[in-house]
Amino acid sequence: MHDYLLGIESLSKSFSGIKVLDNVHLQVRSGTVHSLMGENGAGKSTMMKCLFGIYRQDSGRFFLEGEEFNFIDPKHALENGVSMVHQELNQVTQRTISDNIWLGRYPRKGFFVDEKAMYRASRELFARLGIHLDPNLKLDALSVSQRQMVEIAKAVSYEAKIIVLDEPTSSLTDNEVRMLFDIIRVLRSHGVGIIYISHKMDEIFEVSDEVTVLRDGQYIGTEAIENLDMERIVNMMVGRDLGHRFPPRTNVPGEIHMKVSKITTKYSPIIRDVSFELRRGEILGISGLVGAGRTELVESLFGARTLESGEIYIDGRKINNSTAQKSIGNRFALLTEERRSTGLYPVADITFNSTIANVKSYRGAIGLLDDKSMTRDTETQIDNMRIKTPSYKEQIRDLSGGNQQKVIIGRWLLTDPDILLLDEPTRGIDVGAKFEIYQLIINLAREGKSVIMVSSEMPELIGITNRIMVMSNGRMAGIVETEKTNQTEIFNLAMKYLINSTEAEI
């Protein structure tokens, strides 16, 4: 008998002459979770896309249960026991959940699609996985996390032997992550081999059996999780010890910068009566369960949501942020949670993508744009955030998912805002680059800018903020000093206005 369910041997792949994968390996045993790790741009997604038949490799061989194969397209892969949750959500949002799940394999009754069977199968699938959604809902009526769960359910529904999960938790709520892990455990007990990609270390230690690390397209090694700790993994990924996870908090909050008074939104999801003060040079974290209104709060401050009532004061002066334009004029910047779909110009180059929000400031004497300084600023960003790319001329869609994020983050930092609203700024970013981003945030605060940062990652909130505001069910449950709080206190605050605890679930 063969030892491995899936074997990838000596895989190499280049894009326009640049080697992205150089002779890498992966061996997955049946009934195990195999984590694939590496920095942004290390080649994880590319490796999986070669396996799945989206890219054709330059060289390398694949084995499934000892038998050699080479999928020519995704259809071929799906039919032969490999399914995949893609890093970018690939969904037809205009169509219903069940249309999406069974896309490519609609059940037929004679000449027609058997809608009833399809609906029934979706219900059964959801019941089995514990998802409470009506399969007839259109996808654009769902939240991103619900769409992500649909995608996971779809991958499971293929009854595949190998399931690839490429950053499946990037937009899931804590509850959903737990649901996903339950699903993974069941699949594992049925002998399925799971390839798991994530930048969240705690997840890696919770679900993995084995870990394979890539660095710059090179194979670094494979280890059982028992033999690994966080330092060791980071060392394999980055090639050196990282030391601290968080830079020292060198910013000093000063006088009151912004005062928010009784903000209430007009349309659902509702934010009710939120009031707080933000000091100059302060980093204020916003915590809470998903659905508590964290994103909605920063969007309201930025004018992306209509307010029913409430006021915002800057330095004691009342300001009007009723549209995004006005708030940019008031020197606000918002890094959205869904930056990939709302912030990307896919076919434009990195320079365009990183300077577009600030393009006015590059106007020269006669109003023409100064290419040189645009390029220079872009190159600084590429260096600062360690964006992995051949050059600033690269189209942004050819960057790895995490590197695309870095470009967008850089774009907002370049606008030189006074008040920076960051929604999940480190989502999908590798450990090394996270440190750089924390450092950038702290530096900005030290220069006297004020930062509001929404995050679901408790360690990061505790690691770099000065205070943490906790949202619960659209209301503010309290603000705590970061130095004096702990996870339990924050969790209890997050539950404060929930009628019952199940409301936090989907």
């Binding site: 799945f52 989206i54 397209d73 995704p74 259809k75 799906l78 039919e79 995949m84 893609h86 690939n90 969904q91 037809v92 949002t93 205009q94 169509r95 249309d99 999406n100 896309l103 490519g104 394999r105 609609y106 037929r108 000449f111 027609f112 699609v113 349309y267 969007e299 992306a304 949501r305 209509t306």
Partner: protein, 350 residues
């Protein structure tokens, strides 16, 4: 029903607004009809209704063809020339034996439906080539069909010159062929004139039904929406994107073939400029009916509403004696307004 009434009573202002926006196009049609009726109450007659439906029939068949391509995020500029090709082929094969300038002087009388198949063969061939070019070389359909439009004009001219009839339009249709465009299934007297259900209307209704079934009940139809909505998603889900794309163009070709065949019958003759400019009417009707250029969205009922609206406007405005040039202005404004309202449908308020 009681439930529905209850719902209406308990709706908030916001929901009313949404309902209005959702059904904007139908309200616009209604408003236009009412205005015309007020200006000239004779508009409210069976005769007028029959005329409007008849005039809409061929347009609807053509609109349904290009609608599929619009759902794929595309468009088809060659539609008019496709109609021309089908019209010329059909007419050339269906001339009376005693007609003087026959295209094929020695041709025996052929069964009336056979030339339709010949026409469809021609339009499907060229439309499939467009589809293949779009799918294979990732050329934007606007450009691919712009090229096809030009090619087709040449093809039509060459075919036309082959005929023995010289430079005059291909006329003198066989009486069965003419009957298709003028005949009615049931006929009765109403208000002094004879009205009924024209064959053209029946054909358009049947075609709409078939297309509705294909779009909504078959794997191909669902795949069409998926490819139009998000081609990457369709691809990684194992859908044959290229095959689906080509099939949508083939379907369009079939509909253009039928449309061109009927159009020549309706006009009573065909020449190389038959169908010129029809693509713009068809595309306008689709977008006004909510078939979105951004892809993945559109219904058969939308195409029907869009086509009817345009026919009602032109017929009605002529009926009340409005000058042609004013009609153009009103039509143009309506296109833009309807599309603006339609885009609003998909904006979620936050």
């Amino acid at each position: 029903m009681a439930k529905f009434a209850h719902k209406l009573r308990t709706m908030t202002g916001r929901q009313w607004m949404d309902l209005l926006v959702q059904n904007a196009i139908y309200l616009v049609i209604l408003a236009i009809i009412l205005t015309i009726i007020i200006l000239d109450p004779r508009f409210l007659s069976l005769r007028v209704l029959e005329n409007i439906l008849t005039q809409s029939s061929v347009r609807l068949i053509l609109a349904l063809g290009v609608a599929g391509i619009i759902i794929l995020q595309g468009t088809d500029l060659s539609l008019g020339r496709m109609v021309g090709l089908a019209a010329v082929i059909s007419a050339s094969l269906l001339q009376r034996q005693d007609y003087a300038g026959r295209f094929y002087p020695n041709l025996e009388t052929v069964p009336v439906l056979l030339p339709m198949l010949a026409a469809i063969f021609g339009t499907v061939l060229f439309s499939a080539i467009s589809g293949w070019v779009v799918a294979q070389f990732k050329i934007h359909p606007f450009l691919a069909t712009l090229g096809m439009m030009t090619v087709l004009y040449g093809v039509i001219q060459i075919y036309f010159d082959m005929g023995a009839g010289g430079a005059q339009p291909i006329g003198g249709h066989d009486r069965f062929y003419t009957a298709i465009s003028t005949g009615r299934l049931v006929e009765f007297s109403a208000g002094g004139t004879r009205v009924g259900i024209p064959y053209l209307v029946l054909i358009a209704a049947t075609v709409s039904l078939v297309i509705w079934v294909i779009w909504n009940k078959t794997v191909f139809g669902k795949n069409m929406y998926a490819v139009g909505g998000n081609p990457d998603a369709a691809k990684v889900s194992g859908v044959n994107v290229m095959g689906t794309t080509i099939m949508v163009y083939v379907m369009a070709g079939i509909l253009y073939g039928i449309g061109g065949y009927l159009e020549a019958a309706r006009i009573g003759s065909a020449n190389p400029s038959t169908g010129f400019g029809y693509e713009l009417d068809a595309i306008a009707a689709c977008v006004v009916g909510g078939i979105s250029f951004s892809g993945g969205i559109g219904k058969v009922s939308g195409a029907i509403a869009g086509v009817l609206m345009f026919t009602i406007i032109s017929y009605g405005m002529t009926f009340v004696g409005l000058e042609q040039y004013y009609q153009y202005i009103i039509k143009g404004v309506i296109i833009v307004v309807a599309v603006a309202l339609d885009t609003k449908k998909y904006l979620r308020r936050v």
